[in-house]
């Protein structure tokens, strides 16, 4: 095998075991040996390029790689603190086997041989019976192209990654509407936008690009409007701050749409060219095709051509399509342009600013003014680029004209159970403005856009146990038959993704997996395998319950969830609940691949991907998880990981990155392919590929030529190029979906049409939430518990200097935020008699917690909030006994429930978006009350300490 580069960087010393400043290096490197290595940061999932300086084999300094397309040389607080993560006391040091009761923290150090034997035997047995009894759930690991493929080849449908926590409803809303998404698949046009609308973003995955972008907007004097209940971070510097009431953005966007329609200021030209606004929707109430798009015999969608006064293929060029009116189809049924349905809905008085103002907490006049500003910028200040381009129909355009209203949205929208539709509403607003991938608007990041509809449905078992799934476990159901349900219409998957409970759960329901595994018991689950996810703590709704379920036993004393494997780099709260712990390397100690098959570093300027290279050599008995997974797959003889004789194909992840081919010429990395390294996207594996990446600073990008930069859904040159690189299966134009026909298909099923219908208990629900045009409904939890007992909205925000639970073991970052507060409006505080630093009780329908209060003005009057994931369980993360993270830091999760308050006698639904299964973290409502003055100076609930107690072989021998 020649794929492995000989050393980290040519011409410099190979990596030494290292530690940050302050400790002595035992290596024999000459006194002043300095070297530099380029790799990718992983203090969060933003994928910035870093330049790592080593001195005498020790980390000296990490700075941003100035040539890197993501961060252009800048580095955030977390990235700059990477040096302290490399010496964190929380690092795991050896494989562990549980010896005490689960959760007690008692382990025995074992060898990798033994660890591999245990897991391989276990998985082999599962695979021989029912592969789906392995549930593999991974966090924000950036190896999903590998882990997903492993699951597929293993044959389990029970695989998911963190998207279901974050923003799966936005990912889905975007993919089903515009073939891209705000969530990691799109970005604002920082260069040309004049008005930037930011919905519910605190930090986001694009941490550094957003900050860089905001500064560019500022430099140009563009206006930034932030819709957010809380004014911190990006909202702090917004030119206008709109303190929207949580969960009501959909209404607010409808009111904006209402104003645009009312004023007749929308881009109809854009609508008929690039969206399905003119597609005729069958109007046949009660019929099996009611609400679907009318098609001709060839299957192409129909429009009404006003020029000829007849029906025409909607994709024909030169027609003058009607956007209003009612037309008769050849079969006599009536049909109406999708746009007409839309206009009618949002022009209704119920969406006038005046009608929504109170619920949104935003004055009607403000909404109207914002609508006017949007109109002004979109239509009176268009961006016109002197850049010819050719559309998919072959027409040459001399200019690129854009509506410089850019929108970005994240979890303020998605962490609500109405997020799918709210996000769709935003995409509809963009389409009405003609502000999708045009100069100055929101743009796709390569490799998006993808065709809609056109997603590959989720894979399902194909044949005997042990056979691979017929497709990747996560996919896009487009019709009822794509769901993973049994004959009764009940879920096949453990987390009930792709079932009628969450049909478009394209990333799975991570937050439900422990509860569902507990519910289902050993018949359905044998091994819960967690990678890089703190499932028993901050990523759990209701951590106390999750922990209880993880350690629950049946009457025979057997664990209800038979086996738990955790692959983590640090001593997180979840590690204590593992039966087997596979200790991972840290990000400076391994190869990684930020692949186009997952979520790469591509931008609107073109595709790109990146690698991580080992810069330090671990001095602990740890192994890169990807290496381990590939070895397991090889030992199990999985297809694509072992040859026909069952011999492993790859000896390491680096080897796999270079040689694995998903399809002919398509591999984990798109750059420097082919024998000569000149091919991109598609090409023979190149044994020198990693070396080429290293020489290039750890990444590869392809800059699209200027004529391909916009209108990608209908840009001939772009579509052809994307086809060649295998980003899309055909170079046909991608029609933006103002009206979502797939949703209507699910709705029809709920009305009893077709062979695949929801079980009766779910019919009304599916009918309601699968509206082909965006709707708004109060967040489910609030609707279900609307008795006024919990009058305040409670949300969390990402702190910029912390990444979930893995900042607290960093000696620098924890100085910034070792504990958190519950923030509330000064007026509200005055009303409740609460002052700064008072301890307060935060009560919700599912629990209570104690936190210290801090008052502020820049917050919605009825909203309280805190920084996410600061509170830690005593004993975890290598922290000492009285760490503030244990004593005063708290998790809001303690008062969130993974179940909605059910109707009496009915099984409770999960606390999720009913369309996509997105965890509804921010639907929470609470009540606040000052604690008695003599209350102890510590948070509640405080779970007992369970630090890892590791028996080393030497000790056990003695």
């Amino acid at each position: 095998m020649t794929g492995m580069p000989p050393s980290v960087i040519e011409g410099v010393e190979p990596p030494r075991s290292g530690a940050a400043a302050g400790t002595d290096s035992e290596s024999s490197v000459p006194a002043s040996a300095k070297s530099v290595a380029y790799t990718t940061c992983y203090m969060c999932a933003c994928r910035c390029g870093i330049k790592v300086h080593l001195e005498n084999g020790r980390l000296r300094y990490i700075e941003g790689n100035r040539n890197h397309p993501i961060n252009r040389g800048v580095l955030c607080a977390k990235g700059s603190a990477g040096i302290m993560t490399a010496v964190s006391p929380a690092r795991l040091t050896t494989p562990l086997k549980r010896v005490g009761p689960r959760g007690s923290g008692s382990f025995e150090a074992i060898s990798w041989d033994e660890a591999m034997r245990i897991i391989t035997e276990r998985l082999a047995a599962i695979r021989a019976s029912d592969p789906s009894r392995l549930a593999l759930f991974t966090g924000r690991d950036q190896s999903q192209s590998l882990t997903g493929h492993f699951a597929r080849m293993f044959g389990t449908i029970n695989y998911a990654a963190h998207g279901g926590f974050c923003s799966v409803n936005m990912a889905a809303a975007g993919l089903y509407s515009v073939g891209g998404a705000f969530w990691e698949f799109g970005e604002p046009d920082w260069e040309y936008a004049r008005l930037f609308l930011l919905f519910g973003v605190a930090e986001d995955h694009d941490s550094n690009p957003i900050k860089l972008g905001l500064s560019r907007l500022k430099a140009r004097g563009a206006k930034i409007v932030s819709f957010n209940p809380v004014r911190t971070g990006y909202s702090a510097i917004a030119d206008e701050f709109v303190a929207v009431t949580p969960g009501t953005d959909g209404l607010l966007v409808f009111a904006l749409i209402h104003c645009l329609l009312e004023a007749g200021r929308i881009d109809t030209e854009f609508l008929v060219r690039y969206t399905n606004a003119h597609h005729l929707v069958i109007d046949d109430a009660g019929g099996a095709e009611h609400g679907l798009i009318a098609r001709n015999a060839q299957g192409s969608e129909l429009a009404f051509d006003r020029a000829t006064g007849s029906l025409a293929s909607a994709s024909a060029t030169g027609i003058d399509p009607a956007l209003s009116g009612t037309f008769v189809l050849p079969d006599g049924r009536r049909a109406r342009p999708a746009f007409a349905l839309l206009a009618e809905r949002y022009l209704a008085a119920e969406y006038a600013p005046e009608a929504v103002a109170e619920r949104c907490g935003v004055a009607a006049a403000t909404i109207r003014r914002l609508a006017d500003e949007i109109i002004e910028v979109a239509f009176n200040q268009p961006v016109v680029l002197e850049q010819p381009w050719t559309d998919a129909a072959g027409r040459r355009h001399t200019h690129m004209v854009g509506r410089p209203v850019a929108i970005h949205a994240m979890r303020g929208i998605s962490a609500h159970s109405n997020g799918f539709h709210t996000c769709r509403a935003i995409h509809v607003l963009q389409m009405l403005l003609g502000a999708v991938d045009t100069p100055g608007s929101w743009r796709y990041k390569s490799p998006y856009p993808k065709p809609i509809p056109g997603g590959i449905p989720p894979g399902r078992p194909a044949g005997a146990p042990g056979a691979p799934l017929n497709a990747a476990p996560l996919g896009c159901p487009m019709r009822p038959e794509d769901l993973l349900v049994d004959a009764q219409g009940e879920a096949l998957r453990l987390d009930r993704a792709f079932s009628w409970e969450a049909p478009l759960a394209i990333h799975g329901l991570m937050h439900m997996v422990i509860a569902r595994a507990f519910e289902a018991g050993p018949q359905k689950i044998d091994t819960l395998f967690f990678f890089m996810s703190n499932m028993a703590w901050n990523s759990a709704m209701n951590p106390g319950e999750s922990i209880r379920m993880l350690s629950a036993t049946d009457e025979q004393g057997e664990y209800r969830i038979p086996f738990v494997v955790v692959a983590d780099a640090f001593a997180s709260e979840t590690v204590a609940y593992a039966d087997l712990v596979l200790p991972d390397t840290t990000y400076l100690e391994r190869y990684d691949c930020i692949s186009l098959l997952d979520r790469p570093i591509g931008s609107a300027h073109g595709p790109g991907d990146a690698i991580r290279v080992p810069v330090l050599k671990p001095e602990r008995d740890v192994r890169a998880f990807q290496d381990v997974l590939i070895e397991i797959a090889g030992r199990l003889g999985l297809k694509d990981f072992a040859d026909a004789q069952g011999q492993p194909l790859y000896h390491s992840y680096a080897d796999y990155i270079v040689r694995h081919q998903r399809a002919a010429g398509i591999g984990p990395l798109a750059g420097f392919r082919g024998a000569d390294g000149r091919a991109m996207g598609r090409g023979e594996p190149n044994p020198e590929q990693l070396r080429r990446y290293i020489e290039n600073g750890g990444f590869w990008v392809h800059h699209l030529p200027p004529e391909q930069l916009y209108y990608k859904y209908a840009n001939q040159a772009y579509l052809n190029g994307a086809r060649e690189m295998d980003f899309i299966g055909s170079s046909a134009p991608i029609v933006l979906q103002l009206y979502s026909e797939p949703l209507q298909r699910f709705r029809l099923a709920a009305e009893g049409h077709g062979a695949h219908v929801p079980p009766p208990r779910l019919r009304a629900r599916v009918r309601r939430y699968f509206d082909p045009l965006p709707i708004w409904y109060a967040p489910l939890e609030q609707a279900a518990s609307r008795d006024g007992r919990y009058p305040l909205h409670a949300i969390t925000q990402r702190p910029m200097a912390m990444y979930h639970s893995w900042g607290s073991h960093n000696a620098w970052l924890r100085q910034i935020l070792p504990e958190n507060r519950i923030y509330l409006h000064r007026e509200l505080a005055a009303e409740l008699g609460i002052e700064d630093e008072d301890w307060v009780w935060v009560d919700s329908r599912s629990g209570r917690l104690k936190a210290r209060a801090r008052t502020m003005s820049g917050v919605n009057r009825n909203t309280v909030w805190t920084w996410n994931a600061i509170g830690k369980r005593a004993g975890a993360w290598g922290l000492e006994r009285d760490a503030p993270e244990f004593r005063r830091g708290f998790l809001l999760n303690h008062v969130i429930s993974e179940f909605l308050p059910g109707e009496p006698g009915e099984a409770a639904h999960s606390n999720s978006d009913p369309v996509t299964g997105q965890a509804a973290w921010f639907d929470l409502t609470v009540r606040l009350e000052r604690c008695a003055p003599d209350t102890p100076d510590e948070t509640a609930p405080r779970l007992g300490a369970n630090p890892l107690r590791i028996k080393r072989p030497a000790e056990s021998a003695a």
Binding site: Q815, I816, P818, M856, S857, G858
Partner: protein, 311 residues
Amino acid sequence: MKPAASVLLLTTLTGFAYGLLTWLGLYVAAGAPPAARLLVLAGVGVGLILATLGLIASTLHLGRKERAWRAFSQWRSSWLSREGLAAVLTYPIALAFAWAQYRAPGSPAARSLGVVTALASLGTVYCTAMIYASLKPIRQWHNRHTAPDYLIYALYSGATLFALLHTLAFGTAALAATLAALGALCALIAKLAYWRHVDAQSPIASLASAIGLPKGTAARPLDAPHFTENFILREMGFQVARRHAAKLRRIALVVAFALPLIFSLLARLGTFPLASSALAVACAALGLLTERWLFFAQATHVSALYYGRAV
């Protein structure tokens, strides 16, 4: 400001020391009786020992004690450097004075050295005072009271000590006790005037101006950079509760000034002169330490504005 024990000891002890040396110098210059030969000798000894203890205490405050000698180099700009030099210079002067007075009591040399000793002593106290008085960020120090007050407290505390030594030597406190009583009165008035002054002072800056916003902009802290106390807060952000401070002020008034005043008068009147003058010294010492504690604890530093504290 954090009332560090080392600085409290330094300023209080050197106050006694240099005050005493000043009075001894003036005593001789004014024609002390030859019988006071031993008194002056012992007095200078006591003064220098106290000064030395004070200076040693102050070096305890240093992060790098072994480098303390470097502190003498910047007399052209630094009052701390000047204080150090003045203190060091005072040693040979005071010793020469004591020696001259011992060898030839009342000689012109002794008398003029007495004047020089007094000047050097007061100069040292003045330098100490100016260290504080020159610090613009601290309004309670940077004002016209600080320097004269330090001189007054030094003269006053020195006088109580002088009275005690005098009583020890001659059995009566005589004029020294009068000086001590007068000193206590002056010091009391000076302290009251000082408190009146600082209590009426308006803050020297607002949070708005500290963060560069237009004057008058309302500004409130939201989050501090770090949750735990840091050097700035420990050193500059020290806060003492109003009620606690008011109580301490009353204690200081009584113990530092009122009681020594009474004891000095008693000593002057010959009522248990030794006990009375000893009690005057003891009270002055305790009281002045309290006063000095307050001088620090109630001083606010502009930088605390950044943490939302009143200054």
